[in-house]
Symmetry: C2
Subunit: 193 residues, 2 copies
Amino acid sequence: MPWEKQFRTDEVLTKAMQAFWARGYEATSMQDVVASMGINRASIYATFGDKHGLFIKALRAYDERHRAAFLERLRQRHPGKAAIVKAFDEVIASALDGGSRDGCLLVNTALELSPHDAAIADIVSAGLRHVEMFFHDMIKTGQGLGEIPLSVDAERTAQALLGLFIGLRVLTRSRPEKALFTSIARQAEAMLA
Amino acid sequence: MPWEKQFRTDEVLTKAMQAFWARGYEATSMQDVVASMGINRASIYATFGDKHGLFIKALRAYDERHRAAFLERLRQRHPGKAAIVKAFDEVIASALDGGSRDGCLLVNTALELSPHDAAIADIVSAGLRHVEMFFHDMIKTGQGLGEIPLSVDAERTAQALLGLFIGLRVLTRSRPEKALFTSIARQAEAMLA
DNA sequence: CGTTGTTTGGAATGATCGGTCAACACCGGT
DNA sequence: ACCGGTGTTGACCGATCATTCCAAACAACG
């Protein structure tokens, strides 16, 4: 076994993910990716395959390290109603504070590539379904704790919350206005009463 | 003044709009646009300027002919609560019937280009604001007609409806499931009671 | 019927696209 | 010390990108 890799695979994959996250798949050239990742062009192809393969790996990495980690943290720290409210509040806070206008890579990709690429559509669809399941579980948990009335339909409300959450993600990228975000967050909370 | 144009400007612009609508700005090459519009390459540049200029004109055309026309029709035929409900229902119906997965060009563009292109962001932002104003006006109208309780906050609810509406548009492109759409439409209606 | 100004097709522009290659650098085993 | 194989490298590929140019085709006017 001669010689190991000179770079950390997950580290450079994160760089690629950030590049795609900021600009989208089509608008990000391999030249951009090479510059972002900081390793040689051919090393990228050797390690991750072509652009499409690299994007899929980057998308999976986002799904694990951002979407899944984000939801899991909320699930453990504030199980029940607060997890849902916090989900909206934290997205809003990061959009207003840092001014990061990248939104959510899953949502961005849903619009750009899902209709034309089945493999990517599967990853996006599964990611969004996990968000929906998160809302569903937290509603059920909240009902068990007595925070959320039993009259709330967990399935339907989770689906509506998903719609509202995605809408919020789009607006953080196109109309970053605090009043807009506040109205959406309040509506999300109102759905749980 | 010898010779008039051989093509109808607004007619070929519609073709360009449809091309961008289906695939997005970056993924649509000028080659694709030339094929879609059916006129000569040089005529496109002479009439509409470069790709960016053409896209802006196509986006404006969408805003007038689809977004504005759609809302105006609803406003006149079903003023009040029904206009809002119909807005959601018609989007859902067209997504399920024709199976058109193009969504809304304004929303698609909001994600793809708004963060990186100020001129385009302005058009998108204005279009979305008109949708919000439509919801706002129809809530007020519905309250005047006694269809919607006065306890509903017109401004905040209009903003939340915008978020939900955008979420619906994203989901029609990435997870076209009837149950999802129904939950969102019901939630929209519930916000008005 | 020729002049005039526009549209047209097609070819050609340089730049950039995604992707590949042979040569070199490096290490563990012998 | 040397070899087998892997990682790295920068140069390089044809294809496609947006855009421009040119000469032929054309319709209205004098």
